[in-house]
């Protein structure tokens, strides 16, 4: 249900002079490699050298230890060569130059890895800063008591989930310490609106509000905390959170009752029950998420980390045991060279970029204005193979639209159009407006003013299931469900002609909605209302099918209607006459079959299904319960964006896999560069293994180390943007990526190392 362009008539225009909410730039505006981000990242990459932070990444930690070791050796060797005066000559100088270069490049390797991570975090940090501004020091108008509490409390969302969640999170108490100043003890008399009890309010800092407090918010005031509207209706500017400046309607009861702290009320007055404690508000969580403060490694990342750590230990074994083998062979290998070999062999490329890939993936989700509660959720999205989509608002435009006029016998098309138009003039429902539009399109009928006709509008009610006009002369025009109109004309001595009955049956059979129009006892004809499928849906579903994802449409419609929409939109399957609880059952059934299910939802009764689904995306317009239950919130409240999330999830996993493959494949070339160089002095015959014809042993080792460091920088853009994703079958994707990153990973370093070697030799650095 996207109720973005609220139809409500009472939206006040943006009040002049009202505090304009801090602009949160649409993330798309900021480039990945913005200059300020890069500058900040450069500084951060040095801070990240702290061993405590490095330890989280075993591969890069080992590189850091290696760099430290070679630094110490470098200093030690120079000191000892200084003490033995006279021996310093060209060979020592040469050796120093080599050792220094290796050491510097090893440090560079660590810094490059840190830089990659810092750049990935950059955009999120910038955004977090902007969000913090939204958490300005709002003063809340707290109501000590509120008399309708008892009657409403049963509708309040369940908070167990959040509290259990938040207890695991690091306490975010910066805000509460910032402004714990409480403006207590100045009860202000507040004139309520007509008929409302007069309430005393207390002015307190927004940051002191707790769950269960009540606040009143009026036009031009910021909503002090997350909550549920329990009284009133207001238009709210939520751009601080969503970046979307068009106001939205928030009202008590129903599915549009949730408000977010930091957003601005533009008109009217609402009473809000606060639903979150300090530090745990939506904005707080959002800041933590975009900043990556509570970023935890995803299951896949952990598994990959273990693989990389395992490979690192294997290569550590291979390198360390090389020393005894060398001793046996009567050749000596310096520790610096062994460290260089080790760093080249361990999977530094992926080790350096792994966390950047994860952060960037979350960031991409955020750029789509979707707030994923964890990286795990995004990753799960990549695995999804069943997508449940609500029909209304997701697949169809959400409203039925007039499609064609079917006049009764002896009535002209034009007459039906005219009377249908008359009956709909004051009808503000989308269906009614679409009839006016169709009449204008087909017959050029212009709208008329009701009071010119002197007629009175009879609105649609669930009981009458008709709407229309009553004229002063007693003429009554009605349109509505066939049986309701039938009853209406029967009262006046008319009846539904068989031809009209046939039309009604046919339209219903096609999945449309027939609206019968009557003028007094006379039946004029039928208007064919049709659910209109959004443009481009078929292509999207085809795309999903190619990814191996099955789409299931959920609708409350009868099976006939559902089948028609399903056919038109191209979904794979549908669930008709679905009640909210059916969603949950369907998800469970799919999961038992071994499928991973994603769904979107906004209502309170969607909450159990959202929680059960592997990926549950709640609409920001939805209730607090829905937002709590899902593991993502779409700030734009556009359910079709679930498809993008799935693609991002897949892209994230593919990027990790591609770089891991690339990194491991790189080792082949590095072996061929370093191993012959290591023992060339003892066994000149090993020159035969020097297939790249690298100039000298030193230049060979140095080239490999430099390549190893530079490849990290070269791959940062790929890591941050993600590898190209195309919706093809797994087999084709695998073939393509194996060729690109597997074979490419074997070949590229041969070229790269050779090139660096040529350069080094040309500038006489080795």
């Amino acid at each position: 249900m996207t109720v973005q362009q609220a139809p409500g008539p009472q939206i006040a225009p943006f009040v002049a002079g009202a505090p304009i909410p801090p602009p949160v730039k649409r993330q798309k505006a900021q480039s990945l490699f913005d200059r300020t981000i890069l500058r900040r990242a450069l500084v951060d990459s040095f801070f990240k050298l702290s061993p405590r932070r490095m330890m989280k990444n075993p591969v890069m930690f080992l590189v850091e230890v290696g760099a430290l070791l070679t630094t110490i050796l470098l200093v030690w060797d120079r000191l000892s060569s200084l003490s033995s005066v006279g021996q310093a000559g060209k060979p020592v100088l040469h050796e120093t130059l080599f050792q220094t270069q290796i050491t510097l490049w090893l440090w560079a390797t660590v810094l490059f890895a840190n830089f990659a991570e810092a750049v990935a975090e950059g955009r999120g940090k910038a955004q977090a800063d902007a969000l913090r501004k939204a958490k300005s020091d709002t003063v809340a108008r707290k109501l000590p008591v509120w008399d309708r509490l008892s009657s409403l409390s049963s509708e309040l969302p369940v908070w167990d989930r959040l509290s259990s969640l938040s207890s695991e999170l690091p306490v975010w108490d910066r805000l509460s310490s910032l402004s714990s100043e409480v403006h207590a003890g100045e009860p202000a008399r507040q004139g309520g609106q007509a008929g409302k009890p007069v309430l005393y309010e207390e002015r307190v800092a927004a940051s002191t509000l707790r769950k269960g407090d009540f606040v009143v918010v009026e036009a031009n005031e910021f909503i002090p905390g997350d909550g549920t509207v329990i009284e009133g209706i207001a238009s709210v500017n939520e751009s601080a959170v969503t970046g979307e400046s068009a106001p939205v309607i928030r009202e008590a009861g129903g599915d549009r009752s949730a408000v977010t702290g930091g957003t601005l009320v533009l008109s009217d007055r609402i009473v809000v029950e606060i639903t979150s404690n300090p530090g745990q508000t939506f904005l707080d969580r959002m800041i933590r998420l975009v900043e990556g403060a509570e970023r935890q490694k995803t299951p896949n990342e952990i598994a990959l980390d273990i693989l990389l750590a395992g490979l690192t230990i294997v290569f550590l074994l291979a390198t360390v045991t090389l020393k005894p083998f060398a001793i046996y062979s009567g050749s000596d290998v310096s520790v610096t060279i062994l460290v260089a070999l080790l760093v080249c062999l361990i999977p530094t490329t992926i080790g350096a970029l792994l966390s950047a890939i994860g952060i960037a993936g979350m960031d991409r989700v955020l750029q789509h204005n979707i707030l994923a509660m964890s990286g795990r959720a995004v990753e799960a999205a990549g695995d999804v193979n069943v997508l449940l989509l609500d029909k209304t608002g997701t697949i169809t435009l959400g409203n039925r639209q007039a499609h064609s006029f079917h006049p009764a016998p002896e009535v002209s098309d034009g007459e039906l159009a005219e009377i249908a138009q008359l009956s709909s003039l004051a009808d503000e429902t989308p269906e009614g407006r679409s009839i006016v539009v169709l009449a204008k399109e087909k017959f050029g009928l212009r709208g008329r003013e009701l009071h010119d006709l002197g007629a009175k509008f009879v609105p649609f009610t669930a009981r009458t299931r008709m709407s229309g006009l009553d004229f002063p002369d007693g003429r009554a025009i009605r349109k509505g469900a066939a049986d309701a109109v039938d009853a209406f004309v029967r009262e006046r001595g008319g009846s539904l002609p068989p031809a009209v009955r046939d039309d009604v049956a046919r339209i219903a059979a096609e999945g449309g909605t027939p609206l019968v129009v009557a003028d007094g006892r006379r039946v004029i004809g039928t208007v064919y209302l049709k659910d209109v499928v959004k443009g481009g849906m078929k292509e999207r579903f085809d795309r999903l099918r190619m990814m191996g994802i099955r789409t299931v449409m959920i609708t409350g419609d009868n099976p006939l209607t559902a089948a028609t929409i399903a056919r038109e939109s191209g979904v794979d399957d549908f669930l008709a006459e679905a009640k909210p609880e059916d969603k949950l059952a369907l998800i469970r059934a799919e999961q038992t079959k071994g499928n991973l299910v994603a769904m979107t939802g906004d209502g309170t009764n969607d909450a159990p299904a959202l929680a059960q689904a592997d990926v549950g995306m709640a609409m920001n317009t939805g209730t607090q319960a829905a937002k709590e239950a899902g593991n993502m919130v779409d700030l734009d409240s556009n359910p079709t964006k679930l498809i993008e999330v799935v693609e991002i999830g897949k892209q994230l996993l593919m990027t990790r896999g591609a770089l891991t493959t690339f990194s491991i494949a790189n080792d082949v070339a590095k072996y061929f560069a370093i191993i012959p160089a290591l023992f060339l002095v003892t066994f000149p015959e090993l020159q035969a293994l020097n297939v790249m014809h690298l100039a000298t042993p030193q230049s060979a080792i140095l080239s490999a180390v430099i390549f190893n460091a530079l490849i990290i920088v070269a791959l940062i853009p790929l890591a941050l943007r993600g590898v190209d994703y195309r919706p093809l079958g797994a087999g084709r994707i695998l073939r393509r990526n194996l060729l690109l990153y597997g074979l490419g990973g074997v070949v590229i370093p041969f070229l790269g190392i050779k090139l660096i070697d040529l350069l080094l030799h040309a500038v006489r650095l080795a």
Binding site: L317, T321, K323, P324, M654, Y671, F679, F683, I733, N737
Partner: protein, 560 residues
């Protein structure tokens, strides 16, 4: 001509894989229990209807192995008091007895002794041949349990160790061994209980010719990829392997069961094409190795050629003339692709490159068909790694036949990789820098390094073939290699069984076009790539200091 021979041999293996694989799939999933099986279960107090969890299965296997290990040790130590010792051989020394017991229990059959002059007939038949059957059976049933783990979903158990062991021995190993023993005997392989015969040669000198029940041991030696020969000369001895036909039969027996197991995997997982994809990965690695080894041997030693002291068309040193270069290099490839370790030529005398093939084969983990059972479960390790590394590239959590490969599984897989690498590299490294290690060497330089590397690789890989040239019956090697054998067998299997248990417990995800494909040539080549990069690169430094540099040195006219 030699190419044709390799291909003809491979055709035999290709032909037997399917029927044998299908037979094993039926045998180990049979509902019915025969009376003779039931009698054995009653005798052992086993409830054949109860299945075991992966831990219970593994513990049963460990207990069984420990008991038989101890039994063999006792027989060796007491052989002078026991019957069937016509040559009145004394008790086996403790170090060697321990090494040998471990060697046979782990299906390694590393022999730091000369069988004919150290072991009595009883020790050979009961102490050693027993293991030839049961250690092979243990390997096979472990693979069977692991296949069950892959095939089952949301299951807690992997089968019953005792039932699998009984069936494997009774209906797979015994019948095949019986038929092959008879066939071998028909070729002239000895089968008697005579003491060593004293004869006078044509030159008039006296020669001692040991006798014994050889054919029966020979058959299971190959079939169970054991490799422990009756004679020190193993399958190059005319009593063990007299004719080209017996040689072909022995080579055939080494691969037969191991070639069938991928097919069993395909049948049980209802993915025959996956079984074949694994089979072909093994096949391609085998053919490549066989061709390289043959090529290297055919080109021989350039120094000899220059001096004109050896046949100009190849390296015949250490090879039997009745087999020649083709049968010898093929046998060497097969026996190390599998964890057999029987030899019909001295690998030590191969050209460096030719000799590096057996070494590399074992370093890869003997997964090219491999030891009975061990080959498949070693390959399973690489399958898990390949699926995990490349699986991410299709944009989903890596899954193998519907089971997600998660952190827990990766952890266990890496543990297994580490155990093998640790045993080989650290073992050799210690040997390389200690006098205890280097004093056993017959050659110095790179060739000496190859000898030590080969010893630890062969032990950790449970192969048992020797590079020769190394005196392995010293305290250092007896104990060190026994530890490597223990780690290579029992420490390896625990994490692998853990993965199988974890896979069995997982729910099976539905398959679709987004599912990672584990059949077809793409997967085969992916698997080979992972094996070569993850498996082989670890050992590239030591290989380049050993055989590779030696080959270059030899080409330059330098030998060791």
């Amino acid at each position: 001509m030699l190419t044709l021979k390799i291909l003809a041999y491979f055709a035999l293996i290709l032909a037997v894989a399917k029927p044998l694989g299908a037979y094993m799939a039926r045998l180990f999933s049979r509902e019915k229990t025969y009376a003779v099986e039931r009698a054995i279960y009653r005798l052992g107090g086993i409830d054949e209807t109860k299945e075991q969890s992966w831990t219970a299965y593994t513990i049963a296997m460990l207990v069984f192995s420990a008991v038989t290990l101890f039994l063999t040790y006792v027989i060796e130590r007491l052989q002078h008091l026991l019957p069937l010792n016509p040559d009145r051989l004394p008790a086996v020394a403790p170090d060697l007895a321990w090494n040998t017991a471990m060697s046979f229990t782990t299906n390694t059959n590393w022999q730091a002794y000369s069988g004919e002059t150290t072991m009595s007939h009883l020790t050979q038949m009961l102490g050693l041949t027993l293991h030839n059957f049961v250690s092979a059976a243990v390997g096979i049933v472990l693979a069977i349990a692991i296949i069950r783990g892959i095939a089952r979903a949301s299951a807690k158990t992997l089968g019953n160790f005792w039932v699998d062991l009984t069936r494997c021995t009774l209906w797979l190993l015994l019948p095949l061994a019986l038929v092959s023993a008879v066939l071998l005997a028909s070729q002239g392989v000895t089968q008697n209980f005579h003491p060593t015969q004293q004869i006078k040669t044509l030159e008039g000198k006296a020669q001692k010719i040991p006798q014994g029940p050889i054919a029966s041991q020979e058959a299971i030696k190959e079939l169970g990829t054991n490799g422990g020969g009756f004679f020190n000369a193993n399958s190059s001895h005319p009593y063990e392997n007299p004719t080209p036909f017996s040689n072909l039969l022995e080579m055939f027996l080494i691969f037969a069961i191991s070639a069938g197991l991928p097919i069993t995997l395909g049948i049980w997982t209802r993915k025959p094409r996956h079984g074949w994809a694994v089979f072909w990965a093994m096949a391609i690695l085998f053919l490549a190795a066989a061709f390289v080894a043959t090529y290297a041997e055919q080109h021989g030693n350039p120094i000899h050629q220059r001096l004109g002291v050896a046949r100009s068309d190849g390296n015949m040193e250490g090879k039997e003339v009745r087999f020649g270069i083709g049968d010898s290099s093929l046998f060497a490839t097969i026996t190390t692709d599998a964890s057999c370790g029987a030899v019909n030529a001295m690998h030590d005398s191969f050209t460096p490159i030719g000799g590096s093939i057996p070494l590399l084969n074992i370093m890869l983990g003997e997964i090219v068909f491999g030891g009975v059972g061990a080959g498949l479960y070693g390959m399973f390790l690489f399958i898990v790694l390949a699926v995990f590394i490349a699986g991410l590239m299709v944009g989903r959590t890596p899954e193998y036949l519907g089971k997600k490969i998660e952190a827990h599984d990766v952890k266990l897989a890496m543990l297994a990789v580490l155990i093998l690498a640790f045993s080989i590299l650290v073992g050799t490294a210690v040997a390389a820098v200690t006098t205890a290690g280097t004093s056993s060497l017959a050659n110095n330089g790179p060739h000496g390094l190859s000898e030590m590397t080969y010893a630890f690789t062969s032990a950790a890989g449970n192969n048992g073939s020797a590079f020769a040239g190394l005196n392995a019956n010293t305290r250092f090697y007896d104990i060190g290699l026994a530890l490597a054998m223990f780690a290579g067998r029992f420490l390896m299997i625990i994490p692998l069984m853990g993965i199988a248990g974890s896979l069995a417990a997982k729910r099976k995800l539905a398959e679709g076009v987004g599912t990672f494909p584990v059949d077809g040539p793409l997967f085969t080549f992916l698997l080979i790539g992972v094996i070569l990069i993850v498996g082989a690169l670890t050992y590239f430094p030591v290989l380049s200091l050993g055989p590779y540099v030696e080959q270059f040195l030899m080409n330059a006219g330098k030998v060791f």
